[in-house]
């Protein structure tokens, strides 16, 4: 017991130790900085795996063995309160895996190496904070602080239009955070400012169903009003239509590793927010709004897919595909059935791995081509015949692409199938329309692949070199993950099913 009691703190603060270490290394010693960052993230990954080993899959809810609760700001009953359950563990594993890979993929960063790696590790710590925090205030702090490294990582190391994208990302998310803050403060007062007023676990369970709030002379149901506030806050992060337009800008401008983190981990913070905060605290309102959530999710799926098909910039295409795939998660959440919810959490994990592969591969190509046009604005081919030119790259690309479109045997299929199974009974119409997303999802990816990889090698592509050992090395874990979890989803489903089942049981009461 004592061996694991501080494990979460170790995982949370390990990247900060990394940041401190980097600050001690002179900025000229770039290699040392990279190696140190890599070692640091690998240690974090190892600690997360220890967490996975010690995790008891039979227990629903927070695992007592890992709970940490220490007083932080005692006047306002704010605690340093960390915990892990079956919903957060997959996210923690995903975060630690993707950050190690991102450090490796950032090996080629030349500009201000020290600051870059320090910010990246700092970002990792804040992401862990979001996934571990059980104190709403602590959650909010991590949620906000995360914006700072992201802002700089996009704004300094991004593409030509990086400042616009960074400011847009910052303001958009900040707008959502404000609404979340309002919700949090409201909860603080409604729950009586007691010792549990920021305690997410204590607030959960539908305690506010009968509260009413008087505003502008009307009595509003408290739960519904503030569910909407929280919903918008989280929806911006997912991003749910119509709050999605920051995403293509941020993705296109962000450097490769940041795109990977953004799509792989940060988007999941939004859906995680629903699972951890919005749904458990306002179960009645969640059920009340589930139709709307499902329809918004459907719009995400279809609209994102259609928009993706029109893109000529391959990174923008994958960015819109994320909009579409996160729509599946929203559908699964709206289902509020055991299949749909498990499917949604699994899809969060699977989308993390498959979309990370896509962005990493685009980054690898970008390092060779310095452009990302499938078709240039003047109508000429940006790429062609890459299959002939880059055989190894093509094979990895095929795995990533088919995982992304949900080919059976690869991870995306199981989550999408579970989600559809989950929503079918309640939302038959949405299901019937939603499967079009699967069709268009295959179409835009295959069309992109056809245009870039088949045919004669375009003149300028003839200089490209195939993936090097480092690049192959960091793609292997992801390839293994998408294939392994496509055939044996049980290990990851076993982690989540008890906690997800508990949440479904709670929602089923309303």
């Amino acid at each position: 017991m004592s061996g694991t009691s501080n494990l979460l703190s170790w995982i949370l603060w390990m990247p900060i130790i990394g940041v401190l270490g980097i600050l001690l290394i002179p900025s000229a010693k770039e290699k040392a900085i990279r190696v140190w960052s890599l070692i640091n993230t690998v240690i974090t990954l190892a600690l997360s795996l220890v967490l996975y080993m010690k995790f008891d899959t039979t227990v629903p809810g927070m695992q007592q063995a890992f709970l940490i609760k220490k007083s932080w700001i005692s006047q306002f009953n704010i605690f340093y309160h960390l915990g892990v359950d079956g919903i957060s563990l997959p996210m923690i594993l995903l975060t630690s895996l993707l950050f190690s890979i991102c450090i490796l993929s950032s090996w080629t960063i030349k500009k201000q190496v020290k600051a870059y790696f320090a910010l990246l590790l700092f970002l990792q710590s804040t992401v862990f904070g979001v996934f571990m925090a059980l104190d709403f205030f602590l959650f909010y702090v991590y949620w906000e602080v995360m914006l700072i490294p992201m802002f700089f990582l996009i704004g300094v190391w991004g593409g030509e239009n990086r400042e616009y994208a960074a400011v847009k990302f910052f303001l958009y998310t900040f707008f959502g955070s404000v609404l979340m803050l309002v919700g949090m403060v409201a909860l603080y007062f409604v729950s009586g400012q007691g010792v549990d007023s920021f305690n997410i676990l204590a607030l959960s369970g539908g305690k506010f169903s009968n509260e009413v709030v008087n505003m502008f002379g009307y009595a509003f149901p408290f739960a519904k009003l503030f569910f909407v506030a929280l919903f918008i806050g989280f929806a911006i992060k997912v991003p749910v239509f119509p709050f999605h337009t920051w995403l293509p800008h941020a993705h296109v401008q962000a450097p490769t590793a940041i795109s990977v983190i953004l799509a792989g981990v940060l988007l999941k913070m939004g859906t995680y927010g629903f699972l951890r905060i919005a749904f458990p605290i306002f179960p009645e309102a969640s059920v009340y709004f589930s139709d709307a959530i499902a329809w918004l999710g459907l719009v995400n799926v279809i609209y994102g897919a259609f928009c993706a098909m029109a893109q000529t910039d391959v990174k923008k295409l994958v960015a819109y595909s994320s909009v579409s795939h996160m729509g599946f998660v929203m559908l699964g959440l709206a289902a509020m059935t055991v299949q749909g919810m498990n499917g949604a959490v699994l899809q969060m994990f699977n989308h993390g791995t498959s979309t990370a592969m896509m962005f990493l591969l685009i980054g690898i190509l970008y390092e060779r081509s310095h452009h990302r046009w499938i078709v240039r604005p003047d109508g000429t081919k940006g790429f062609g015949g890459l299959y002939t030119q880059l055989p190894k790259y093509s094979i990895v690309f095929i795995i990533a692409m088919f995982a992304s479109m949900g080919l059976p045997g690869l991870s995306g299929f199981i989550s999408e199938a579970l989600i559809f199974l989950g929503i079918y009974e309640r939302f038959t119409t949405i299901t019937v329309i939603g499967v079009i997303g699967l069709l268009i999802g295959a179409a835009y990816l295959l069309w992109m692949f056809k245009r870039m990889f088949f045919g004669d090698v375009v003149e300028e592509c003839k200089e490209y070199t195939d993936m090097n050992a480092r690049e192959i090395f960091y793609m292997i874990p992801l390839c293994v993950a998408v294939i392994f979890f496509g055939i044996f989803p049980a290990p990851i489903l076993n982690i989540m099913k008890a906690s997800v089942g508990q949440l479904v049981s709670l929602l089923a009461k309303y």
Binding site: T58, P60, K168, L171, F174, F175, V178, L181, V182, V185, A186, F189, P242, T245, Y303, C307, M309, A310, Q311, V338, Q339, N342, G385, T388, I398, F402, P408, G409, A417, F420, L421, Y424, E425, T428, T429, T431, V435, L438, A443, L446, W447, F449, K450, F453, F454, G455, D456, V457, A490, L493, N494, K497, A498, S499, V500, G501, Q502, L503, V504, S505
Partner: protein, 726 residues
């Protein structure tokens, strides 16, 4: 005999293991990889043969089956429960199918060692075999599946393999188009299939075939409506749409002819013998749903249209492989027609006979094409106008191909006659009972005439007459027999004889040829529609658990008569079938005769037909404009403009106005504040309070630099203040 996991699983796992190993070694150790693939599929064949032997020759009751399940994953927890099981289901149909798939696949693997050896450098050769292994493994997995979900999984995996194999020559632009087209067209069917699975799953609580049959028998389907349609109809339509995609039925037939971009042996395996057959196999498995949903007429019409329509297109094809491709679509149409008219076991028999003769046709075509070169462009010659007279050079292939042609044309004593004729006979039977069925029946008979004609046309143009391209002809090597090229052709063409399928394998040996009552034929006695009532009390077993059922052991040669056709039924249809058989024999021979007149005697001039019916000719050459309609119409005029509009709307309108517009609004409000402050500052300045000027300037500067964040802080303060006030 008890079957355990170790005697069933290797059928799928051997080729799969070969695929996994070859993925790593194919590039460097190509010879090992090729040997591994071939060895693996032969191993599967041995395991499959054992099952076949037990089910067909063994003393099992005719309705005996093996059904073993294991848990794939389990979502039970937190007060909720949900399980997904996988399993294998083996009955007579599975056993026959397994044998056919493994045998044909083995022969195609062997042939590929010949075909791919000269064709390309070694690295590619290995890649080809890697995909072949995955493909056969997926097909075998599909055949063994006990539920719709795993059928879907393997089904899509085969879609992936066909995508990879059609796009095998990736340096060709056309290969990219063809592979994408194949994948997307079948995917249209697949998403419907998935919907069907969801509909069934939600009602039955499982998608295992036996559970579905039991639910049908118990009437669970009846009260459920989906979007205003009865469940059985909805699910049947959706799942059958999957068949339409995979088995290239009208209107989703467009992908199959393009699929010829792949190497010829893969055409034999994927686009003739096995993958397209998976669709028909599925429709046989879900036959009780189709029946319950009153969809059999729809199925029959689709089959009839496909059988006839594809045959007409095949009339004008000049590419050797294209003729075969359209003949495949047409024959698949017959199978579907068979399903529709309730000719359950003939449809399945046609699946088997077609797999064999079509594989042989493709391999023979491969042999011919392989030896014909254009020395100017360094490509293989596939165009029939440049062939002719090749029988002098390809004696062996010529004979093998004629066997298959006679089989597909439905000439008596060949396998195609036995199966196709029985489908047409059943169609006729249905038509006599129900006038609406005359439409598919007439289409079927007309297609049979065309089939005999275009297949003989193909043979005459390729092998007979004078060589039309001297250069190509002279450079073609005289066929010299080699084991890996000719043995597969030999074996396959031997099995184009009808006696293998119409005979009895029990008691009387292979003596009874084409008996119309079918009472003693092994196919008729083994394969029958699933009688759903029988499944109500049946239960699957866990892998590893002992088989507790008492096998109804019958002495050999004595099958359960209640399973196949009853005496009366057989007698009743006897007469109609007799008429049907005579009709189809006349039709087949007249097709052959017309081709003979046109291309050998040359007493009928095909050119006259072309010029007289030029509009029809153009329509046929353009495949009835289906490709144009889908690609130029639906996609280029519909989908792509819609995409571009939405994308433009998203970034150009919505993002610019609704999102960035807020920044503009904020900016504007800031301007007002500035103007107001200036006024105030001015007034104060006029009043001579000089010191305050600097103070307000500082304040102003802060305002200007803060921009939107400043307003957010304002919002927070106001809202927080309000909440505090509560």
């Amino acid at each position: 005999m008890d079957y355990t996991i170790s005697s069933i699983a290797p059928i799928v796992l051997l080729p799969f293991a070969a695929f996994v190993i070859n993925s790593f070694i194919a590039r460097t150790f190509t010879k090992t990889a090729v040997a591994l693939s071939c060895g693996a599929i032969f191993g599967s064949f041995l395991f499959a043969f054992r099952i076949f032997k037990d089910f067909v020759f063994g003393n099992y009751a005719t309705d005996y089956y093996i059904h073993k399940v294991f848990n794939w994953f389990d979502l039970t927890g937190g007060g909720q429960s949900f399980q997904v099981n996988m399993g294998v289901y083996i009955d007579n149909m599975t056993a026959v199918m397994l044998l056919m798939v493994t045998a044909v696949a083995t022969l195609i693997h062997v042939f590929s060692t010949f075909y791919m050896h000269h064709d390309m450098n070694y690295g590619r050769n290995g890649r080809f075999f890697t995909y072949l292994s995955l493909f056969t493994s997926a097909m075998l997995g599909l055949v063994l599946s006990d539920n719709l979900l795993s059928v879907f999984i393997f089904w899509e995996l085969m879609g992936f393999c066909s995508y990879s194999l059609i796009g095998f020559y990736y340096e060709k632009e056309g290969a990219g188009n063809a592979s994408m087209k194949a994948f997307m067209t079948t995917r249209v069917g697949d998403v419907f299939f998935l919907l069907g699975i969801l509909a069934v799953w939600t009602t039955v609580g499982s998608v295992t075939f036996t559970d579905i049959y039991a639910a049908l028998a118990a009437g669970k389907f009846d009260p459920v409506m989906v979007l205003g349609i009865p469940l059985a109809t909805f699910a049947g339509l959706c799942i059958f749409a999957g068949t339409m995609g995979k088995s290239a039925q009208f209107p989703l037939q467009v992908w199959l002819p393009d699929a010829m971009f792949g190497p010829t042996p893969c055409s034999a395996l994927i686009h003739a013998a096995t993958m397209v057959a998976a669709g028909v196999y599925l429709s046989l498995r879900i036959y009780p749903i189709l029946e319950a949903g009153h969809l059999t007429y729809f199925v029959a019409v689709i089959g009839g249209i496909t059988a006839f329509g594809a045959a007409t297109i095949a009339l004008v094809q000049t590419d050797l492989k294209a003729v075969l491709a359209y003949s495949t679509i047409s024959q698949l149409g017959y199978m579907v027609l068979g399903v529709g008219v309730g000719s359950y076991n003939a449809a399945f028999m046609h699946l088997i006979t077609h797999a064999i003769f079509k594989a042989c046709l493709f391999l023979s075509a491969g042999s011919v094409i392989h030896s014909l070169h254009d020395h100017h462009t360094h490509t293989h010659v596939q165009e029939m106008p440049r062939m002719g007279g090749l029988k002098n050079k390809f004696k062996f292939t010529w004979i093998a191909m004629w066997c298959c042609t006679l089989a597909i044309a439905g000439i008596p004593f060949f396998s195609g006659f036995v199966s196709k004729d029985r489908i047409l006979g059943d169609a006729l039977l249905m038509a006599l009972h129900n006038k609406a069925y005359w439409i598919p029946t007439i289409l079927g008979f007309a297609g049979a005439f065309l089939t005999a004609f275009y297949m003989c046309r193909m043979m005459f143009l390729t092998f007979h007459g004078e060589p039309r391209d001297k250069d190509v002809y002279d450079h073609a090597h005289v066929e010299h027999l080699s084991w890996n090229q000719n043995i597969p052709l030999l074996i396959l063409s031997v099995f184009t004889l009808g006696v293998w399928f119409s005979g009895s394998l029990t008691g009387q040996g292979l003596v009874k040829v084409a008996s119309y009552d079918g009472k003693y034929e092994w196919f008729q006695t083994l394969i029958a529609k699933p009688k759903v009532e029988k499944f109500v009390s049946y239960k699957a077993e866990e892998f590893g658990a002992a088989d507790t059922r008492v096998k109804n052991q019958l002495p050999a040669s004595q099958y359960d008569s209640s399973y196949g056709l009853s005496e009366e039924e057989a007698h009743h249809i006897h007469h109609v079938h007799y008429m049907g058989a005579i009709a189809s024999i006349i039709i087949a021979f007249s097709g052959v005769f017309l081709a003979f007149l046109m291309y050998i005697r040359k007493s009928v001039n095909p050119g006259w037909w072309v010029s007289t019916f030029s509009g029809w000719y153009r329509a046929l050459q353009n495949r009835y404009y289906f490709d144009d309609f889908y690609i130029k119409g639906l996609i280029q005029r519909g989908l792509l403009p819609l995409n571009n509009f939405l994308s433009w709307f998203d970034m150009g309108v919505y993002d610019r106005i609704a999102v960035d517009g807020w920044a503009k609004v904020t900016h504007f409000l800031m301007g007002i504040a500035k103007w107001f402050d200036n006024l105030v500052v001015d007034t104060i300045a006029v009043d001579g309070t000089g010191a305050s000027v600097r103070f307000f300037n500082v304040l102003l500067r802060t305002l200007q630099s803060g921009k939107i964040q400043f307003y957010f802080i304002m919002i927070i303060l106001v809202l927080t203040g309000y909440v505090l006030a509560l």
